[in-house]
């Protein structure tokens, strides 16, 4: 996979400019962290990378033919099904043993056989993250993936996420600079200052 090159990306919703001539290069095979408070277009940028939004103007080079996996800001799980079914939905090639091993690594071993609707918020977040990590992908987009996890578990999950996504292109959106550091981000983009600079 090549570097992703974002050039002059603009996106407006209901007259409000969310992305204004954004220029950014996301290096292939590395982790890029994007930090910004709410309302600076982090999620919009991810949606453009996923192909769910079309930019008003500007281009993103390097997206053609690549497989994208994502942890959305919301868990977006099938509540009536179990963790294993949710994971297999997006990674049909994964064997039962691989899925069970993943569940154990994410401390979800005892969740087998229960529907996701019975899970706590933290458990749902881990299923959502594991689903993204087990799906085949070239580009991994993570929108606040560790939100809602308790301190000890967060460390373990960050470690496991880092290990499983090693060598892949990862875009991590977060409020927390520590998460960017733990995910070994090679560049940290402060979207807030980037936007303000471009608005000058």
């Amino acid at each position: 996979m090549k570097d992703l090159i974002i050039r002059d990306l603009c996106k407006t919703y209901n007259g409000k400019t969310v992305l204004d001539r954004l220029n950014l290069t996301i290096p292939a095979g590395k982790t890029t962290a994007i930090l910004a408070p709410s309302g600076y277009g982090k999620t919009t940028l991810l949606r453009c990378l996923m192909g769910l939004e079309t930019a008003d103007s500007g281009t993103i080079e390097g997206l053609e033919g690549i497989r994208v996996s994502v942890v959305f800001q919301e868990d977006r799980l099938l509540e009536g099904f179990g963790a294993e079914a949710n994971i297999r939905l997006c990674s049909p090639e994964a064997s039962g043993e691989q899925v069970r091993e993943g569940l154990r690594a994410f401390s979800l071993g005892d969740a087998e056989g229960k529907p996701v609707s019975a899970f706590s918020g933290g458990m749902k977040r881990r299923v959502s993250l594991l689903r993204a990590l087990m799906a085949p992908y070239d580009l991994l987009l993570l929108d606040e993936p560790f939100h809602g996890l308790d301190e000890e578990l967060r460390e373990q999950i960050m470690e496991e996420t880092n290990r499983r996504s090693h060598g892949k292109t990862v875009v991590l959106v977060t409020h927390d600079p520590y998460e960017a550091e733990r995910m070994q981000a090679v560049q940290t983009v402060h979207l807030e200052s980037l936007v303000q600079e471009q608005r000058k």
Binding site: L52, S69, V70, E74, R76, L78, F81, G82, A85, R88
Partner: protein, 249 residues
């Protein structure tokens, strides 16, 4: 299965009915529940009773199944093609608003009365299922659909694990309404058309001969079949959904 009423409440209203009929003192005006039970016991011993039940059941339920199948198919097509939705919209509105008696009389002019209840039950069920399923398809969780799109979820998996579970509550609710209505309209059609050997024919004859006990007994039979049918169909559907969830995880 959720209990909708308490047995003491049923007994209370049966007692009111019994006292009311004793106070009126005329079997033609208001027959007592005991007399209805006695008439019903006599009826179920006769072969003609079971033949009539089968005759009406096959037709009314057949109409329900046809209406359900076509309603679902048209809802899927309408959700995909705007032209189909626009084309069907006035038709569905017409079927929903035209009185059932008008359909029955028209159908009697065009066809024989033998399969009248199939057509009427079908016509009553079709718009309910169509509207319910179409609403369900349009109200599917957008976030889940986006997730399936990004992950390139295979169409069959998406159908079984996202589309069907998302539409199911709307389908279930539409079936519940349609089942009750199919029996009411189907029997009404039989009463007017009087196809030979149907429940409706017996009801009409009971009216002509002022045979109130038989009229009440057949009414009880219709209510029981309708309730039983609703319980069995809805229970079967719920079990099907549970099996799907177990099968897929």
């Amino acid at each position: 299965m959720k209990k909708n009423f308490r047995i003491w409440a049923v007994l209370f209203w049966l007692l009111v009915w019994q006292l009311g009929s004793m106070a009126i003192g005329s079997e033609i005006l208001l027959v007592s529940p005991l007399r209805v039970i006695q008439t019903l016991a006599d009826m179920i011993r006769q072969m003609i009773f079971w033949r009539s039940v089968c005759f009406s059941f096959i037709r009314v339920f057949g109409g329900f199944l046809l209406g359900t199948a076509l309603g679902c198919l048209l809802a899927v097509l309408s959700s995909r093609f705007q032209v189909v939705r626009e084309l069907l919209s006035p038709l569905v509105l017409t079927v929903r608003t035209v009185p059932v008696a008008s359909f029955i009389i028209l159908a009697l002019i065009w066809f024989s009365s033998k399969n009248l209840s199939v057509l009427i039950s079908f016509l009553m069920v079709l718009p309910i299922l169509y509207t319910g399923v179409l609403t369900g398809i349009r109200e599917r969780d957008r976030e889940l659909l986006e997730m399936a799109r990004v992950f390139h979820v295979r169409p069959w998996r998406k159908l079984l694990m996202i589309d069907i579970p998302e539409v199911y509550p709307y389908f279930h609710s539409a079936c519940r309404t349609a089942l009750g209505l199919s029996w009411k309209s189907g029997i009404a059609a039989e009463v007017i058309g009087m196809p030979k050997g149907s429940i409706g024919e017996h009801l009409q004859q009971a009216k002509v001969y002022l045979d109130t006990p038989t009229l009440f007994a057949w009414t009880v039979v219709i209510v029981l079949i309708s309730l039983l049918c609703e319980r069995l169909v809805l229970h079967g559907m719920d079990q099907g959904m549970k099996m799907l969830r177990r099968w897929k995880g």
